[in-house]
């Protein structure tokens, strides 16, 4: 049997990826350039008995998915920069209360209203540092329509596996371009279910670490009565200010990601084996970078690309290893050096890190990258 093929936009693919992953609840608020996700979900979810709700604002949408997740749903919201800023309050709530959810954020120009229809990659730091307090962060940056579909599924899986919010952040180019997509068969891509309690309700504690760093999560209305709060909490879910408990719980929440970096971090190495010049790119920018690396190779320059697929946690280990042998790093990105700073943090002065930073709403073209590669020589 031949596989189902379609010609889809990134945002549409994201919606279908969510449905493949078992998403049955969506709450959102209209915002360019991510609204297509809400439109697809409003049409598709009721067909499978799922729920769609357009909330009164971005914060309300984030609140609604967290509430629905606690009632047992697999949940998604979609937004873009200004909406992400508003959602940060409750992304932090999702982190501390450890509620699985996926936030699909299309990166447009910022700050503030910025350039609603222009591409950008300037939300990547907000994905890690946007909400206050120490917290785990997982952020995926797909580069194609097919990959957007697959990364949304992976985001759902990671959110369930680590019981934490996960962000998928395509730039506006990836979100709006149309490409051929091949749908996987049912069962072809693994879908991770929520870890639910094995103990009876009277013994259940929502943050019981005797089950490991990721305790099982019950659903409201299934006989389990438990308390959830945004305050620092004890294993039973009730607030505490006891120093040693707060310290241990905060460290555990962050450790869920930090101790599993190798499971979470994904990347692509393109022509890196003998590369002297390493272009580090992500999202749509990596498509120009691939073209530029090929062009440089044709001119006899040993260039390669390290493509970031998982932006958070950052591929520190891989960049540090590359820094041992590379003569230079080129970081093209549609912001003023957010990824480049992370590269410099890892390269630690062992090689020059040259950035190509555009925030004018135009994509970075391959020629610009080729020129920069030549500068290192």
């Amino acid at each position: 049997m031949s596989k189902k093929v379609a010609f889809l936009q990134g945002n549409e693919a994201a919606s279908h990826g969510a449905l493949y992953a078992g998403c049955n609840f969506f709450a959102g608020y209209p915002i360019t350039p991510s609204t297509e996700v809400a439109e697809v979900m409003s049409a598709e979810l009721p067909k499978i008995g799922g729920k769609f709700i357009q909330m009164e604002d971005e914060i309300g949408a984030m609140a609604a998915i967290l509430g629905a997740a606690l009632a047992g749903s697999k949940v998604l919201t979609s937004t873009s920069g200004p909406g992400l800023s508003l959602k940060q309050e409750l992304i932090g709530y999702g982190c501390i209360a450890e509620i699985p959810c996926v936030i699909y954020n299309v990166m447009r120009g910022g700050p503030s209203t910025g350039m609603p229809t222009g591409p950008s990659q300037s939300d990547v730091m907000a994905a890690k540092w946007g909400t206050h307090g120490d917290h785990p962060a997982i952020c995926l940056t797909p580069a194609s329509v097919q990959e957007t579909y697959e990364e949304v599924i992976r985001a759902f899986n990671l959110s369930e596996k680590y019981r934490t919010p996960v962000m998928v952040m395509p730039d506006e180019i990836v979100a709006h371009m149309r490409e051929r997509i091949v749908f996987p068969e049912k069962g072809e891509i693994e879908v991770v279910p929520r870890k639910t309690p094995t103990v009876p309700p009277e013994q259940y504690k929502p943050y019981d670490t005797s089950f490991g760093d990721v305790p099982p999560l019950a659903a409201y209305g299934t006989g389990y009565k438990f308390h959830v709060t945004g305050l620092n909490k004890m294993p039973d879910g009730f607030p505490t200010t006891k120093a040693e408990v707060v310290q241990a719980e905060e460290e555990r929440q962050v450790r869920k990601v930090d101790a599993n970096v190798d499971d979470i971090v994904t990347f692509e190495e393109y022509l890196l084996d003998d590369a002297e010049i390493v272009v580090v790119a992500y999202g749509s920018t990596s498509r120009s970078a691939r073209y530029a690396v090929n062009a440089a190779r044709e001119q006899g320059i040993k260039a390669g690309m390290f493509r970031i697929k998982t932006f958070w946690p950052f591929p520190d280990k891989q960049i540090k290893a590359l820094a041992q042998k590379a003569k230079g790093f080129i970081v093209p990105e549609m912001n003023l050096g957010m990824c480049a700073n992370e590269i410099e943090r890892n390269v630690q002065g062992k090689a020059p890190v040259l950035g190509i930073f555009r925030v004018d709403g135009e994509p970075i073209n391959p020629d610009q990258i080729v020129e920069k590669i030549k500068e290192v020589k």
Binding site: F25, A64, S73, G221
Partner: protein, 271 residues
């Protein structure tokens, strides 16, 4: 035999955080009596709150309890109710939480007429942060941020709920304890978004700044300034000056949101 409140409370969680003289405990007992009279049980009941003194109420209740972020109770609760329409969803919070930072979620929950009950404990002040004026603080009153008297006009929360589309709106006071459970029970039974505003006191941060000599004086003030809707019908406008109405203020039958969404699912699946 005395009413057994403990079967609705989480063992070992008391004492609650409220100050001596605060009326929130009276409302919590009213809620428990209401739940008991309706036999709705605790396993299938979600009690959702925001931030503030009143929002600590769910933690003491042996139910599915969700203490959310400031102002967000109605939006979280909407997610719970949409995901599990068969659950009873009760919201509890204060006047600042519900009508200032949570005002948008509040009016839209009213508009949707989603089947939940929102108990607003209106003590006219932000108590937990030490007594700043809220949207329910009377004009001229003293608060920690209105040292020269409050220049802001106050919301009439019940009117706000009616105007926004809530289909059951009632008001009681912490003084009229015996009425609270009846109002809450009727609200829970109502199919749609119901609001029960309970006028409450905050002796610690409101009373002492506004020349109330004692909790008793504050409670008496609630008694003297409130008039049951039935009694008000026979009173003149002059007699009603400075009074607030209590009882069921508004009730209508209108399409309920989760029922309407079930129809959306039917239509989508019929295609």
């Amino acid at each position: 035999m005395a009413f057994d409140y403990e079967k609705y409370l989480r063992p070992g969680k008391l004492p609650h955080i409220w100050c001596p003289g605060c009326g929130h405990g009276i409302v919590m007992k009213g809620l428990i009596r209401a739940m008991d009279s309706l036999k709705i049980g605790t396993k299938n009941t979600a009690i959702v709150s925001g931030i503030g003194c009143a929002s600590r109420l769910p933690g003491d209740m042996d139910s599915c309890t969700l203490h959310t972020a400031h102002g967000r109770a109605a939006a979280f609760a909407t997610g719970v109710k949409m995901a599990k329409p068969e659950m009873n969803v009760i919201l509890v919070g204060g006047d600042g939480d519900g009508t200032a930072i949570g005002g948008n979620h509040f009016i839209h929950a009213c508009r949707r007429n989603i089947d939940m009950t929102y108990i607003i404990l209106n003590n006219k002040i932000y108590g937990m942060t030490g007594g700043q004026f809220s949207p329910a603080t009377p004009t001229g009153a003293k608060a920690s941020t209105t040292p020269y008297g409050n220049p802001d006009p106050a919301f009439d929360i019940a009117k706000l709920a009616i105007g926004a589309g809530a289909t059951f709106v009632a008001r009681g006071t912490a003084y009229h304890a015996a009425q609270i459970d009846k109002l809450i029970a009727e609200a829970i039974q109502h199919k749609g978004f119901s609001v029960v505003e309970i006028l409450d006191d905050c002796p610690t941060t409101y009373g002492r700044r506004n020349k109330f000599k004692s909790v008793i004086e504050m409670m008496n003030h609630l008694k003297e300034t409130s008039v049951p809707v039935k009694a008000a019908e026979k009173m003149t406008a002059e007699q009603l000056q400075g009074k607030v109405l209590t009882g069921v203020l508004y009730k209508e039958e209108r399409a309920e949101y989760t029922t309407e969404y079930a129809k959306v699912i039917e239509r989508a699946q019929a295609k």
